[in-house]
Symmetry: C2
Subunit: 330 residues, 2 copies
């Protein structure tokens, strides 16, 4: 490891010019004769000079870093979003400070402090679980913010929403069209915004249909949560013939339960997930789901954040409509 790092003044000294000139040249703002410029560039190269982002950030009050907060990076839903964010961020010279909340609200508050300390230029915050009041207070500290899966007044943050109501409604209608009448709900985390919205969408359609769900069970948004919830729902002589799951992970857990219990899918029961993660295609039967364009969400979110960082507020809110993909589990 090299011991000392070249700084602007080193380049300047060797080139026999002032630091200011080096700064101008290296930042492409002219300010020197072609020959001087060339010499400066060459010396910078030889010295492997890399500007100190800390100093630059301190001076300019821009860190070049964007905070990304996700509840659980092990949930395949989020890496796709992150890729979308990174794709756009990179093109614009931003880096990603990634924070994994591990599904805990306490951590979220701490994280906010950290990100504030790091003086991130903005934040993309996915599936925030904080109560409204805390959330608003936390968001205050950022120059710009975009929420995924949550809304606040537009002057506080932009938002990318997934239309969970519509998605859940589609899921229910799909099962109903298939002749399923005894429908259960694996509803995900009780504290989740998205879970509530799905439930609202379902209630609406159930009302239209003059029907009611057989049962509703909350659970963690992962495979184990789905297994536990489905065991509860499909236990001794349940007559459930259709199951709407909070997400694909829950649905995969349900598939495991059905297999263990000898319940045939889709003959005895139809199962539908949500999100459209790759895994859904690889299980058997292939999982029907409401597909969400995660990469696109990431890109949109980051673009929206860029606008906000630059002080433009072209678009405050974008709603993504999930798309029903009927595969073999329904």
């Amino acid at each position: 490891m090299r011991v000392t790092k070249a700084k602007l003044s080193d380049v300047a000294r060797i080139a026999g010019v002032s630091p200011m000139t080096v700064s101008r040249v290296l930042n492409g703002r002219g300010g020197a004769s072609p020959e001087t410029s060339e010499r400066i560039r060459q010396i910078a190269d030889e010295l492997r000079y890399q500007p100190n982002a800390l100093a630059r950030g301190l001076k300019s009050d821009k860190s070049g870093i964007v905070g990304v907060v996700v509840p659980d990076i092990a949930n395949p839903f989020f890496p796709e979003i992150i890729r979308g964010i990174e794709n756009v961020a990179m093109q614009h010279g931003y880096n990603l400070l990634l924070c994994n909340v591990v599904e805990s609200a306490d951590r979220e508050i701490n994280l906010m402090r950290t990100l504030e300390s790091q003086r991130v230029d903005g934040v993309v915050w996915c599936s925030a679980r904080l109560p409204e009041k805390d959330l608003l207070k936390a968001l205050e500290s950022f120059k710009a913010a975009v929420l995924v899966n949550r809304t606040v007044p537009p002057q506080i943050a932009g938002s990318i929403m997934i239309d969970y109501r519509a998605g859940a409604a589609d899921a229910l209608r799909h099962l109903w069209d298939l002749g399923r009448r005894r429908i259960g709900i694996i509803a995900g985390p009780a504290a989740s915004r998205g879970a509530m919205e799905r439930l609202e969408g379902l209630r609406m359609v159930f009302a239209e249909l003059g029907a009611e769900p057989v049962a509703t069970v909350h659970c963690a948004p992962d495979v184990n949560g789905g297994m536990a919830a489905s065991r509860e729902l499909l236990g001794a002589n349940s007559q459930v013939d259709g199951l709407i799951c909070y997400n694909d992970l829950n649905a995969v857990g349900t598939l495991q339960t059905c297999e263990a219990l000898g319940i045939r899918v889709p003959e005895d029961i139809s199962i539908i997930g949500f999100d459209g993660i790759p895994l859904a295609e690889f299980v058997r039967p292939k999982l029907s789901t409401l597909h969400v364009d995660k990469y696109g969400i990431g890109q949109l979110g980051m673009r929206m954040l860029l606008e906000r960082i630059e002080g433009k507020f072209v678009q405050h809110s974008i709603v993504i409509r999930p798309q029903l993909i009927a595969r073999n589990s329904t």
Copy 2:
């Protein structure tokens, strides 16, 4: 959004003391009477003072940020590692600057410059694809570095290695014990270190056995890559009865091919993957694999990095041995 951010001097002014005193108190280095300290803390709280990490970093030459580089965050192998890294990093007050290489060597070089500019305190670099010479040069710029899946001399970087040779050897012996004699290899990316090592392990065992692989095909390390490679291998009247895959994603792709081609697994052919990602348990048949403790790798890697950041070099290299998990695909 609040317009101005409180700084140290604001707290000092209001508290009627010097910035220095505030600094000492807030950093828990005594330096003030209990009453003064209490007052300072309270004012800092009211002002929602958060220290500027840029300024602190500039002064102390420590950014509090650790760079994490992965080839593809959408590959479920890496989020687990990241979680492990974050878990330890967080406990020690470090944040993660995440960089997704998207499997491209050019990007790796650029990334290094960026991370250098950000003055990260260290780097955990997973599955670097850079040629040795470039890699060494790139690593020079960091105060501390740990590689996952690659080694360099210990003074350059620590390393967490997965014993791919042993793992691949186990895989082959497993298939052989099952009576498989016409074994093909889906070898992953030709440029990957890990791929080469697996191949070496296989060659060794093949030699012991006095046998040879029927065919070897390279491919991208994802499901599609596995599908393409397996179609090539299992095409018209292949007699392959065992397939060793670079990773679980490749193996899942192979499973798809077998299904499409009407090849029964494990009756007609045994298939084994590598990594032990969750997905492997959810496909049918359940995938046999060589399980790697990804979360543990992340933790170990970050701990090793911490030691290096602190100038200790207790351990230079750790080797993780993959564990054979025989499920239903073999």
